[in-house]
Each structure stands twice: as structure tokens, then as C-alpha cells.
């Protein structure tokens, strides 16, 4: 039963107020992309046992999408941040590094 801090309305939201949105920072591939790119865009997922960056929506609250940095093995939360970014902010990366030195996730570390 997670609680995640909504970076928009400042609420520590109960999991039942949230919708999970899967992996974060996925680049959209539309017309013009090749089959592999499009396949990976839609289906290939990091699915890590450890540090994960993922999307959540404060559905029963302010309705905003945000990102969470979370460990899938312990459910530890390193931080949450707005969804309108292409990569996790430095303070989030630092928070993860503090707890999981040497972590990496896709192109981020």
C-alpha cells in the first residue's frame, strides 16, 4: 500500500487515490520510426528489480501526472517529480545515488 507525494498539490496520496502509469521517460515513436523502434516504444520495458522511474496520476486528487523514483524490490521511494521533463531532475538522481550508489536505469545514472 504505497503513499506517494504528489508534487503538484503537495498531498501524500494513498495508493487508492492514484493510477499507475507504467515506465517513465519513454520517447514516442510515430510514423517514420522503424519496426524495432516502434516495438520497443510500445512493449519493451525495463521491468527492473530495483530502481525504477515510473508514471503516476493523482487521479482522485488534482488529476495531474507525475513521476516517481522507486525501488521495486523494497518499495522504497527516492522522490517524486513533475511529468513535464525528459529526464529525472538532479536532486532525484542524487537521492537515488545516496541510497543506491552506482545505480543506473536506461541511459540515466
Amino acid at each position: 500500500m504505497l503513499t506517494l507525494h504528489c508534487p503538484y498539490c503537495g498531498v501524500n496520496a494513498d495508493e487508492t487515490e492514484l493510477d499507475a502509469g507504467g515506465e517513465a521517460h519513454i520517447k514516442r515513436h510515430g510514423p517514420g520510426s522503424d519496426d524495432n523502434q516502434f516495438h520497443d516504444y510500445l512493449f519493451t520495458r525495463e521491468n527492473p528489480k530495483g530502481v525504477h522511474l515510473e508514471r503516476w496520476r493523482h487521479a482522485a486528487g488534482c488529476g495531474k501526472w507525475f513521476h516517481a523514483a522507486r525501488c521495486t524490490a523494497t518499495l522504497e521511494v527516492f522522490g517524486t517529480y513533475p511529468a513535464q521533463v525528459y529526464e529525472p531532475p538532479q536532486d532525484i538522481k542524487d537521492a537515488i545515488s545516496a541510497k543506491r550508489p552506482g545505480w543506473s536505469w536506461r541511459e540515466f545514472e
Binding site: D14, P31, F38, V77, K99
Partner: protein, 1005 residues
């Protein structure tokens, strides 16, 4: 015999007598009794039968860990099976029945299993009943199922007479357990200013201490408990609850507490149970410890009881299980029982102490009271069936020979204590083995981790290992302070109250009595009393290679009973470890899962039953529909009329009537459930061009356009009419199920992909009641009501306008899903019912009839319009449905475009939409598949198509259908076969999907 003692009983009020029933016999007890203590007071030692062998079972414990004394409680709508007699507070008129026997408790046919026990070892059913094949289902299994099962099932029509509720609570520190450790931990935590919630599963505070004696700061435990309670009650930041069990600990500080409000006062107003959903920064588990039985032959005979439990019954309830008692132990604590019994006037024949050294100070006190103590001895065997008759005593180090028999009627046993680590373990807390005390306790280095990655559970008192009163209180103080600190408060460090109790000598682990008991004895030495698992069973499992503790548990069912192994697990583990020649910590434990003790299904469901089981969404016309024959169809959470059935009319007659009337006169449809989403902004057109397959940016204000939406995976997810309001505002209609889904879909893409586009979206679905006025007389009724110009010139087909109809401000859309002249009119929801009634009234002279969803389906099918959810099922792309005209070729991109370029999506062998006409005019079965030639590699009949919609058309007086068929559009006129599940073969001709008014004249007048 077991009886009520003349004195004693700190929890009962002898001035308040209570009458209750057990197996039909009226008995008497006192206020403060549990059902178990009251039954014993009435010399009812045998309270049930075991699971597998149906052996007589008596109460063995005095609390939540009880595996034997389970009864069916109450009657009718309040009957509850498997209720623990030891945790059931006695109340006037209580009725209970014992379980798992036929015809009755005293004489049970199933007891034949006892005689066969030798032939029914652990896992016997895996090795037997294999042949002949059908016998398992029809002969063996039914027998096993009937002899298994425990409590009687409630009557099949039972509807629970009680209500339940949830409650969300937030605390800095949750303390579970109201014994002296819990009280002290709560006090210590509260002094820091932290918000503390303290819960205790029983109806009284203090736990074991008042029974076990000693002093706290010079006070008797009872007095100290009173004093501390008074302090806590006076502290604003502390909340305390009795009859509330901490039942589970989950991630991120989430905990469940199970409050039993009216179990002891059935029928009282208010909910029966309240399930607390607690978020705590820190959780202190002051859950105490549970005494372990000793494994000796016949340790399951009624009258054999945990030493601590026997003490509880004497001190708390003034009952004794017997008159001539023998105590068997491997530790000093059990001497307290001998002493309590003796002081209560019960004859204690002797204490059999497995330790050659004998006991310490408590042993001396016992001796001084004239109790005989036999060091180095063991119980070889208990004799007696439904009641202890005598014991055979032998040396502990031996196989059980050279016995001395002593007659007695009760035995108190103590194999040491195991901390209650369940709540610590639920969320991943790990354990370490303590050799000195021979038990698992929480490993402070490996606690369950919270959201911040730090531990959030702190064990306190006996639940953490300490045994003596002094150590328990000191540990509780530390735990309370630590929890407060971890919760972000600064604890006032204070000295723990001084607990004084007799010094105890160390126990000696005894996992089998006598140590080398021979096989006949081991086959009678019980580990799990309820499931009938014996020492020999665990040894057999080990022998057969079921070496993992999980394998042994599952193979023998050890610890899988309703007590979840509270008494049996550690003894079982030790037995397994010995059998494998390993150390206990190597063998490890099984996983602890919530709940700590079983909680009612009702409490889990909470308030969500009956009318509030799930929300029912209602349109402004709902009540009118209900009053006018609506045959309801659930659509999502909405209810829509399937048809309006008149008195003496069948549902299908009603549908046919509605379908004809809409084409011939005037039909009204409550379309309020259709989604209505406003999209506004400089980039709204660009945004909608991505959302829809067709172009929306070039739609002219005042006009409407039918649009399709696909997922990024290419599949059709919704459709609807889009109207352009003004330069930068569009109104998108969605399907009934689509409103919230599509609104969320738009927000998601807006917020997470194109967040730099200037677009705002608002879901105004429920602001309007939307009513479709359909049929040749549609314009007439509107003109009669007066107001805006509704002529074709003023509002042409696929146009819209704001205006007034009668007194009603409205927005009118000239759109048609029926193929008839049709206006969809939106009015404010609060005027929706009035508007509907006005239309009904004014429409009378034009033959007005409301129509439901089925008529809606048929009308659109007659016109070959697709329906999301019928023609689509999540695997369909617009191209399958011949909707290419609605897919913009000009646009470089839209959601789903790339997906639709994948090889399987462009495959010319994809089934395509066609109309289907049965050769004989009958109706094709819904969901039927068209059979092709031959079978596939897996022997399945090849198929070449399927029916997506099929109806009887009253207007055409024949069956019409739509379907997806391989190369369908190229095969017009061909007849294909649809095998029905009724065995018939339905022949249907492939035709154009538009069955009615192909030119579309009627809608455009």
C-alpha cells in the same frame, strides 16, 4: 472434572450470572467469562473434534492461539463458524455448537480415522486414490471433503444481519498490544508529543503480567496497569482501543486493526466490526509471546493444556480444568502454574521437570508448598480418550521405558515461550534464533523497510525476546522512545518502571519427550492439534525429501490450521531440523502472512454492500425511466433502460414496438450518458488532429463531424460526434463508457507528451441532459413546443445551434444514429426531467414513445452504423470496419497511425465488415463463427469470420446482422455457414451492411 473455584477470577463478576447454550444444553457463567472458561466451569472440557482423525479436542490455550476450542456461534443470519471459544466473550443468550463430528460430539463416526491413523500418515492422499481415474472426483474426493472442512457452512440463503465499516486513522506511533509492554511503550512514545494509537485485542488491559505476578515500581501489576491507563487516558495525543486487534502490517506504514464492536452485544445499534486502515510512521509490536506445548505421546488428550493457560483460567476466571494436576515443563515459568493451582486449592500431584538440574527460586517455592518436583523426568504417554485419566512417567533421556503410572485428570505443559513476531514479519522483517531462550525473535538489523528505506516496526517486550518483568518493561521503554524518535519526535528519556519478578533459571530445549521416544510414541506425539500433524509425520516428510520447511508444511499441513501454527510451528521446525540433522536457524521459518488471527469477510468489504455496494450512476431522467417500465441494463456504472416495457408486454415486444415507432412516428432516447468533453485553446485543433483519425482542425464552427479515436497501438477505442463551438473551442462527444476514459486519455497525452501545447480540456458530461428526438415527427413536436427555428435551413443535417425550446435553454445537434430525422438536444441537467416530460406531453399527439438501448442498437444496425463494443473488441482497427473514409490521408501523424502500418495490420487477410442476411430470414446467433474448410495444426476447425451484431429487425421483419469475414467485401452474395451451439447450421448471405434507407434520405429532411 473441570469446575469453578470458590474464589479467584479477577475478570469475572460473580454477581452477574449469564445463561448460554452449548450443543443445546443450557449452562451458566458469569459476566467476564469467555465461552471457554464458562464451558470449563460447566465441566465441558471436550469442545470439538480434530480435522483429520476426528479426535476429541479440549481447550489447550486461553487466547488467540487456541487451535482446538472452535465453535459455531449464534444462529440464522448471525451464525458464525470456527469461532474461538477462548476469545469469545460470554453474553446472555449466547448459543454455540461444537464442530466436525457426526452424529454428535460424544459419538463421532469420523473417529474411525483415529483407528486408521496408522494408515493415514502425512500426504497419504498423494499416494492413494489414483486408480481408477474417475473415482477421485466421484468417490474419493467427496468423502475427503466431507470428513474435512471444519465448521458448519452458514445456510445458503443467509444474509448477514449486521453492518460493517472502515475507518482511516493516522498516527505517528501505532502500538499493538495492551500488555504492560504496550502500555509502557505507548507512554514512552507519547511523552515525546507523538500522536499515539494503542490497540488491544481483548476487552481488558495488562496482558499476562497481572496473572504472572511480581511488582512494578512497588505496585502489583493490576494496580500499575490501572494507574498507567489513567495517565494515558488523560493524555491528549493518545488514543486507546480495546477489542481491537492489530491484524496486519503492510508497506509504507499501512496497518489494519480489526475492532469487534458488537460481537459481545449482538443486535446492538451500529456496525458489528470496524476495520481500521491505519497509516503510522512507526509501529510498535508489543504482542507478547506464546507458550509452546511439549511433544509427548497423548499431548492432545482433552485435559492437557498449556501451563500459562491453566494459570489464566484459575486466576482470571476462577476455573480449574481438573482436580489432580500434573505439570510438565522444561523451564521455571511453569512452576507459577503449579503454585497458583496449589494456592487455589487444587491438588498438584507433581512437577515433571525435564531438566536434570530441576528449577530455581520458583521451584523452591513450589516445594515449600508441598509440591513434589521430579527433575530429569518426562511424560512417556498420556492415557485417556476424551479426558486425561493417567500419565506414564519416564526419564527424559531415554526411549520411554521404565514407566511409572500416575492417575490425574489434567496436565499443564510448558515447552518455553516464542515471541509473537507475526506483525514484525508481515512486511519483510527478518528473525534471528536465540539459543539461550530457544526461540526466534526479531533481528534488529533487518526490520521491515518503509517508504524512506528505514525500518518502521519496533518490537517491544516479550515480543522482542525478553522474559522477566524487569527486562520487558525496560525494553518497552526503549522501544517507545525509539519509535517516537524515528517518527521525528524528541523522546523524553525516562527510566523504565522497575519490574521485579522471581529470578528464573534458563530453560533446556525439549523438542521431544522423552528425548529418544520410540516410533509408537512419536506417532502419538502431536505437533499440530487441529490438523493432526505428529512428530512422526514431519520425520516422514524429511525422509521423503520434502526438506524445505515450505515443503514439509505443505506436505504435512503443519501450521496450516486456523491458528496458522501459533502453537505448532516452532516445535515442527525443531523436529524437522533434528530429522535433517541441521540447526533450527538453517531450516528457517515459513512466511508469516496477514491476518494475525482471522478477520470477517464482512469487515473487509466494509460499508460496500446492498445499495452502496457500487455506485449506480443516474441520469436526470432516471426516476422517470424507473417509473415507466425501464428494464435496466448496466452500462459501466450507469443504468440505462434496455426497453420501456408496458404492462402485459414482453421485453422483446417492447423493443420491436419501440423500433417501429421511432421510424414511423416519434421516439425519445435519454442520451444523457454520452460523454461531452470541451477542448479549448490555440492548439486545440492540432491536439484533436492527433486524438482523432480524421481531421478536426478544419471543421467549421456550427458544424458537426463523426470522429474515430484509436489507441497508440492502432485499435479503435471510441467514436462520437465532434462539434466546433468557435475558433478555439470544440465539443467532443464520446460513447457512454468513454466519457471518463477518453477525458483521461486526452489529459494524459496533454500532460505527458504535448505539455507545451496550449490546450485545456473539461469534462462537462453531467452538466447536460441530452435527449434524442427521433423520427418523422421529430420536428413537429419541437415546433409545437415553440422557440428556436428548427427548420432544415436553420439547422441542416450535421449542424448545431444554441437556442430555446419552450422555456428551455438548449443546444441542438442535427445528428442521427438511427437514420431518421433526429435532433439531439442538450439542456441543463437540473431541467432535464422537466424537458423530458414536456416532450412526452407535447409528443402524445405525434405518437411519442421513449426507446431504450436495444432499440438504439437495432436502429443503428439497420443503417449499418458500427457500435463500439459490438463491432469493436479491442482488436479491431478502423480499416477492418470499412471506415477508411474517416482516416485522414493528409495527416502525417495521429495516435495509432504508425501502429496501423505493421505487417499484421495491413494484412489483406484481415477479416472485414459486411452485412449478413440469413437465407431463411431467421436471426443469426450472437457471436457465431463462420466455419471454413478443414482444421488447423491443432485440430481446431478453421474459421473465416464471425458475427459482431445480430438482431431481429421489426421494420424489415427479418434477421439482420453484421460480421467480420475473410475477404468479405469481395464476396458479396456468397453464402457462408455459421454452426450454432444449438447444433444447427445457419446459412447467411454476405451483403452490404446498410439494410435500411441506403440513400440516407430519411435523416436528411
Amino acid at each position: 472434572m473441570s469446575t469453578r473455584l470458590a474464589k479467584q477470577g479477577r475478570l469475572i463478576d460473580r454477581s452477574k450470572q449469564i445463561t448460554f447454550k452449548f450443543n443445546g444444553t443450557t449452562m451458566r457463567g458469569f459476566e467476564g467469562d469467555t465461552l471457554a472458561s464458562a464451558l470449563m466451569a460447566n465441566d465441558q472440557m471436550m469442545m470439538g473434534r480434530s480435522f483429520k482423525y476426528h479426535r476429541p479436542r479440549g481447550v489447550v490455550a486461553s487466547g488467540a492461539e487456541e487451535p482446538n476450542a472452535l465453535v459455531g456461534l449464534g444462529e440464522g443470519a448471525r451464525f458464525e463458524p470456527n469461532q474461538r471459544a477462548t476469545t469469545t466473550e460470554l453474553f446472555e443468550g449466547l448459543t454455540s455448537i461444537s464442530q466436525n463430528h457426526w452424529p454428535n460430539l460424544e459419538f463421532d463416526v469420523g473417529a474411525v480415522n483415529t483407528a486408521l491413523a496408522r494408515f493415514l500418515p502425512a500426504g497419504f492422499y498423494y499416494k492413494m486414490f489414483i486408480h481408477p481415474q474417475p473415482f477421485w472426483k466421484h468417490v474419493y474426493e467427496p468423502i475427503i471433503r466431507h470428513s474435512a472442512g471444519l465448521g458448519k457452512a452458514p445456510d445458503k440463503e443467509t444474509k448477514d444481519a449486521d453492518t460493517y465499516e472502515h475507518f482511516y486513522a493516522f498516527a505517528d506511533v501505532l502500538v499493538v498490544g495492551g500488555g504492560v509492554a504496550g502500555l509502557q511503550a505507548a507512554k514512552a512514545a507519547a511523552q515525546s508529543g507523538a500522536k499515539v494509537l494503542l490497540v488491544e485485542q481483548t476487552s481488558h488491559w495488562g496482558g499476562r503480567a497481572p496473572v504472572d505476578g511480581g511488582t512494578i515500581d512497588g505496585l502489583a501489576p493490576d494496580a500499575w496497569v490501572e494507574q498507567t491507563l489513567t495517565e494515558l487516558k488523560a493524555t491528549d495525543n493518545v488514543t486507546i482501543r480495546t477489542r481491537t486487534m492489530g491484524s496486519g502490517v503492510y508497506d509504507h506504514g499501512y496497518a489494519l486493526a480489526y475492532e469487534r464492536l458488537t460481537d459481545h452485544t449482538p443486535g446492538a445499534p451500529g456496525p458489528r466490526h470496524r476495520l481500521w486502515r491505519i497509516r503510522a510512521k512507526q509501529i510498535v509490536t508489543a504482542t507478547g509471546a506464546i507458550e509452546r506445548p511439549l511433544s509427548f505421546a497423548g499431548n492432545d488428550v482433552p485435559g492437557v493444556m498449556l501451563a500459562s493457560a491453566m494459570r489464566d483460567y484459575v486466576v482470571n476466571w476462577g476455573v480449574t480444568p481438573g482436580q489432580r494436576v500434573i505439570v510438565a515443563t522444561n523451564n521455571d515459568d511453569a512452576y507459577r502454574t503449579a503454585i497458583s493451582l496449589k494456592k487455589a486449592g487444587v491438588d498438584v500431584l507433581r512437577v515433571i521437570d525435564a531438566r536434570t538440574s530441576g528449577g530455581g527460586a520458583l521451584a523452591d517455592e513450589a516445594r515449600s508448598l508441598g509440591i513434589r518436583v521430579d527433575p530429569g523426568k518426562a511424560i512417556a504417554k498420556v492415557k485417556g480418550g476424551k479426558r486425561v485419566k493417567k500419565v506414564a512417567i519416564c526419564n527424559q533421556d531415554g526411549i520411554g521405558g521404565a514407566r511409572e503410572e500416575v492417575a490425574c485428570d489434567a496436565i499443564a505443559m510448558s515447552g518455553g515461550w516464542s515471541p509473537v513476531v507475526h506483525l514484525w514479519s508481515h512486511c519483510g522483517g527478518k528473525l534471528i534464533w536465540d539459543d539461550a531462550l530457544a526461540h526466534f525473535r526479531p533481528d534488529p538489523a533487518r526490520p521491515p523497510l518503509g517508504a524512506d528505506g528505514n525500518g518502521f516496526v519496533v518490537p517491544a517486550g516479550a515480543a522482542n525476546g525478553p522474559v522477566s518483568l524487569g527486562d520487558v518493561l525496560a525494553d518497552a521503554q526503549t522501544a517507545g522512545e525509539a519509535a517516537a524518535n524515528a517518527a521525528g519526535f524528541t523522546p523524553k528519556t525516562a527510566d523504565a518502571p522497575k519490574g521485579v519478578s522471581e529470578l528464573e533459571l534458563p530453560l533446556e530445549p525439549v523438542w521431544l519427550m522423552p528425548a529418544n521416544a520410540d516410533m509408537p510414541l512419536r506417532m502419538k506425539a502431536w505437533l499440530d492439534f487441529q490438523n493432526d500433524v505428529k512428530v512422526s509425520d514431519v520425520q516422514l516428510a524429511a525422509r521423503e525429501g520434502y526438506e524445505s520447511v515450505e515443503h514439509t508444511k505443505r506436505y504435512t499441513t503443519l501450521g496450516m490450521a486456523t491458528d496458522q501454527g501459533k502453537l505448532s510451528n516452532i516445535n515442527g521446525l525443531a523436529t524437522l531440523a533434528n530429522a535433517l540433522g541441521e540447526d533450527i536457524p538453517q531450516v528457517g521459518t515459513t512466511t508469516f502472512r496477514p491476518p494475525y488471527t482471522p478477520i470477517s469477510m464482512g469487515s473487509i468489504g466494509g460499508e460496500a454492500r446492498g445499495e452502496v455496494f457500487q455506485p449506480i450512476r443516474k441520469t436526470p431522467v432516471h426516476e422517470w425511466n424507473d417509473a415507466n417500465g425501464a428494464d435496466w441494463e448496466p452500462v459501466g456504472h450507469w443504468r440505462r433502460p434496455y426497453a420501456y416495457v408496458r404492462p402485459g408486454e414482453g421485453v422483446h415486444d417492447a423493443v420491436n414496438r419501440e423500433v417501429k415507432n421511432a421510424r414511423e412516428n416519434l421516439g425519445l432516447l435519454d442520451a444523457s450518458t454520452l460523454g461531452k468533453i470541451i477542448v479549448k485553446g490555440p492548439d486545440a485543433g492540432k491536439f484533436l488532429d492527433m486524438m482523432y483519425t480524421n481531421m478536426m482542425s478544419n471543421l467549421k464552427p456550427g458544424k458537426c463531424r463523426y470522429g474515430l479515436m484509436c489507441s497508440e497501438n492502432g485499435f479503435l477505442i471510441d467514436d462520437g460526434v465532434v462539434a466546433r463551438m468557435d475558433d478555439d473551442t470544440w465539443l467532443c462527444h464520446t460513447t457512454t463508457g468513454g466519457a471518463e476514459r477518453i477525458h483521461g486519455h486526452m489529459e494524459e497525452w496533454m500532460q505527458t507528451e504535448w505539455w507545451d501545447w496550449n490546450v485545456y480540456v473539461a469534462n462537462v458530461t453531467e452538466q447536460y441532459a441530452q435527449i434524442a428526438v427521433v423520427g418523422p415527427n421529430a420536428r413537429k413536436v419541437l415546433e409545437k413546443l415553440g422557440g428556436m427555428d428548427v427548420s432544415d435551413a436553420a439547422i441542416p443535417f450535421m449542424g448545431w445551434a444554441d437556442g430555446k425550446i419552450g422555456d428551455f435553454d438548449c443546444r441542438m445537434f442535427r445528428i442521427s444514429f438511427s437514420g431518421e430525422l433526429s435532433c439531439e438536444i442538450a439542456v441543463p441537467a437540473s431541467q432535464g426531467l422537466a424537458f423530458w416530460e414536456a416532450l412526452i406531453e407535447a409528443g402524445k399527439e405525434f405518437g411519442v414513445m421513449p426507446y431504450g438501448t436495444e432499440a438504439l442498437h437495432i436502429l443503428r444496425a439497420e443503417k449499418g452504423f458500427i457500435m463500439i463494443g459490438d463491432e469493436t473488441d479491442g482488436t479491431i482497427i478502423p480499416q477492418d470496419l470499412g471506415l477508411n473514409w474517416a482516416i485522414s490521408k493528409k495527416k502525417e501523424d495521429f495516435l495509432g497511425k504508425r501502429a496501423q502500418q505493421r505487417s499484421h495490420m495491413t494484412d489483406r487477410n484481415r477479416w472485414k465488415l459486411v452485412g449478413l442476411e440469413t437465407v431463411d430470414g431467421s436471426v443469426l446467433p450472437d457471436g457465431a463463427y463462420a466455419a471454413g474448410e478443414g482444421v488447423n495444426a491443432n485440430g481446431q476447425r478453421n474459421v473465416i469470420g464471425r458475427v459482431t451484431s445480430t438482431y431481429y429487425s421489426a421494420n424489415l421483419d427479418r434477421g439482420i446482422a453484421m460480421g467480420l469475414v475473410l475477404h468479405g467485401p469481395d464476396r458479396m452474395g456468397e453464402v457462408i455457414e455459421f454452426p450454432g451451439t444449438d447444433g444447427k447450421i445457419y446459412k447467411a448471405k454476405i451483403v452490404d451492411p446498410v439494410f435500411y434507407d441506403k440513400e440516407g434520405k430519411k435523416q436528411n429532411v
